[in-house]
């Protein structure tokens, strides 16, 4: 199948690759190792859930993956480029070009409307792509908010806000989508809708890492990475063969979207 072979060829190069990444914090006299010589690779087109109890290092991992934090030692590569020693400005560029964030509390900017919120990541690119606004409109349409472009976040429900956040995470065509407890603030029905949206994105071939402590969220992902004390506790690959094969056999509609 066309999509399968292409993703296989591209997956030779992992999207995000950690090599002996350590992140230490100083708490007074104590030194805490939030990440301890972590070596791991997130392949292209994969959908990972990162799980673990609080203090396991999963938030730190997310911050490092999201280029919000720098490893104390070790190397972190995105699309093959080492970003572990980049300056603050260079990391900002990586974030604006390669990464999409979805947060637990949606984190939309209250004084901007839906369309403007979706456009924020492009605002910070040195060369904003042509047709940015059309793209943002299409994404709003895609997440079912095409009719609410002029609404402020306050006027939307939690689920709608999170959809806007997902559209925002997609607007810069990121290599990696990072979701931090993306369903944590939502009721179970709305959470399900959001997870279905993430499934769709995965089916399109996007790389997603979702950090969660909710087992049912973790179960929906393709693969699960469990952390404990900053180290890998377990790795489960292809935990849902049935669902994934469904994803491997996409409907014609999904093929069209993936091909974009």
């Amino acid at each position: 199948m066309e999509r399968g072979t292409r993703s296989k060829a591209r997956s030779l190069l992992p999207v995000a690759e950690l090599e002996r990444v350590t992140r230490t914090y100083h708490m007074g006299a104590n030194e805490v190792r939030a990440l301890d010589e972590l070596t791991f690779a997130f392949g292209r087109g994969e959908y990972w859930a990162v799980m673990g109890s609080s203090g396991s290092g999963k938030s730190t991992l997310l911050n490092v993956l999201g280029c919000l934090d720098r490893p104390s030692s070790g190397h972190y590569r995105i699309d093959g480029a080492d970003v572990s020693q980049l300056t603050d400005d260079e990391l900002s560029v990586i974030r604006s070009q390669k990464l999409g964030f979805v947060f637990q509390s949606y984190n939309l900017i209250p004084q901007l409307n839906v369309l403007e919120n979706i456009l924020v990541p492009l605002f910070y690119q040195d060369e904003p792509p042509a047709g940015a606004e059309q793209r943002a409109r299409a994404l709003a349409e895609r997440v079912g908010l095409g009719e609410r472009l002029a609404h402020r976040p306050m006027e939307l429900s939690g689920g709608q806000q999170q959809r806007v956040a997902i559209a925002r995470a997609l607007v810069n065509e990121p290599s990696l989508i990072l979701a931090d407890e993306a369903t944590g603030n939502l009721d179970s029905q709305t959470a399900l809708e959001i997870l279905e949206l993430l499934d769709e994105l995965h089916a399109e071939g996007r790389t997603i890492v979702i950090v969660t402590h909710e087992p049912d969220v973790g179960e929906r992902a393709q693969h699960v990475l469990r952390l404990k004390d900053g180290r890998i506790e377990s790795v489960v690959r292809d935990q849902n063969p049935a669902r994934d094969s469904a994803a491997e056999d996409p409907s014609p509609d999904e093929v069209r979207q993936a091909g974009r």
Partner: protein, 423 residues
């Protein structure tokens, strides 16, 4: 940052500020008063100096003017209904001034004649001044029509006169006054020319608003017909006055010598007059006085302006620091979505500048109104030059930049991870 995205930053700043309208308005008050004081200060200063310049132009910067002043009335003699008061500058004073000082180039005596001026049914009471032909040249008056007095007029004690604009318009509303006859007191005079009017300077001797209507006749003619003894009609009483000369205009060879000549004249007059029946007007001193007024205004309004701008700036900084704390999360979000530090600096700096410039614009409006009020109530001339609002505007923008830098830098210094975690 590119043009469109800068505009977007400005728009974002405006909309963020509009979220808290009252707070934003109150924050701008300091800058508002600061900028309006700057404009008012410049307008009043400019007006004062313009007025002084004009006085100098009219009186002549090289001139010293001596004037007769009637001494204070003595109540002991005030009971008489008819009496003779002798005072003022004398012909001897004139001779001394013109002969003693080498720096003096020309001396022009002026006598004032208290007579009514008529043309048919129309009558008025201008100052009738008997003087020499050089008067016009020394005082720099400008001829409107015809000619000024000539030496020949003096030689023939001719009955000719020159009218100031105001008199000409009043007596001859529909025709040229040239070669027409008017009646001064009981005698007929032929009009030979007219002079442009001048706004009377508001000195102590002549309060502003006093008539500028003047009629000039040859000195000899005046002396011949009216002598030095004149009757002045007052309400209910007649007064005899004996005054040789009402005014002596002393021209010096250069403006630098004016203080010297003025001092010498003052000393000379003090020695020869037993009563203070004269005054000295030195246009240059008027200028100095105007400059002094301007300086005081500048100090007062300048202090008000700087204090308001300082306090206003601190107020803005305070509010912006609060805003930055309040919007820590927004900063975190923006950073996570790819904003560089300078984007955050720019965002908050622009917001501060929008705030202070908003206050500045309101201040410009107020600053344009204040001079109008001052002019109407305090009878002071004010001039708003186009550069004043511009300067005030730039100052307000500068205040925004100066006091916005720290809050903006603080916003940009935040750690994205910490900022995102902020509630």
């Amino acid at each position: 940052m590119k043009g469109p995205s800068f505009l977007r930053t400005v728009r974002l700043g405006v909309s963020s500020l509009l979220l808290h309208k009252l707070r934003s308005l109150l924050t701008t008050l300091g800058v508002l008063f600061g900028t309006s004081s700057v404009i008012a200060m410049l307008a009043i200063g400019e007006g004062a100096s313009e007025e002084a310049q004009e006085q100098i132009r009219q009186l002549g910067s090289k001139n010293v003017i001596l004037r007769s002043v009637k001494p204070r009335e003595d109540f002991a003699t005030g009971q008489q209904t008819v009496r003779v008061v002798k005072y003022g500058l004398t012909d001897e004073d004139l001779a001394r001034v013109s002969e003693t000082f080498p720096a003096v180039t020309r001396v022009v005596p002026v006598r004032e004649i208290y007579e009514e001026v008529r043309k048919g049914e129309r009558a008025m009471n201008p100052r009738v001044l008997a003087t020499l032909p050089v008067y016009r040249d020394v005082t720099g008056r400008i001829l409107a029509e015809g000619r000024f007095l000539a030496d020949a007029d003096l030689a023939h004690t001719a009955n000719v006169c020159v009218l100031s604009d105001e008199v000409a318009h009043h007596l001859f509303p529909f025709e040229s006054p040239l070669d027409q006859e008017i009646k001064i007191g009981g005698d007929y005079y032929t009009v030979v020319g007219t002079l442009l009017s001048r706004v009377r300077p508001s000195s102590d001797a002549a309060p502003a608003g006093k008539s500028t209507a003047e009629v000039f006749i040859p000195l000899e003619t005046g002396q011949k017909w009216y002598g030095s003894m004149q009757v002045k009609l007052r309400a209910g009483s007649r007064e005899m006055e004996e005054v040789d000369l009402h005014e002596i205009v002393v021209e010096t060879d250069a403006a630098e010598n004016v203080p010297l000549v003025a001092a010498a004249c003052r000393e000379m007059l003090a020695r020869n007059h037993t009563q203070s029946d004269y005054e000295l007007i030195v246009p240059l001193e008027l200028l100095l006085r105007a400059e002094e007024t301007k300086r005081i205004f500048n100090i007062v309004l300048g202090s008000i302006a700087s204090i308001s701008l300082l306090v206003g700036g601190i107020g803005i900084m305070n509010v912006m620091l609060a805003t930055v704390t309040e919007r820590t999360r927004e900063i975190g979000i923006r950073r996570a979505l790819g904003a560089k530090r300078r984007h955050i600096v720019m965002q908050f700096l622009v917001e501060t500048v929008v705030l202070s410039v908003g206050g500045g614009l309101l201040g410009v409006i107020l600053g344009l109104v204040i001079p109008i009020i001052v002019q109407a109530t305090a009878n002071m001339r004010t001039i708003v030059t186009p550069s004043a609002p511009l300067l005030a505007f730039l100052i307000s923008a500068g205040v925004g930049v100066v006091f916005g830098l720290y809050p903006a830098a603080r916003a940009a210094r935040m750690d994205p991870v910490e900022a995102l975690r902020h509630e």
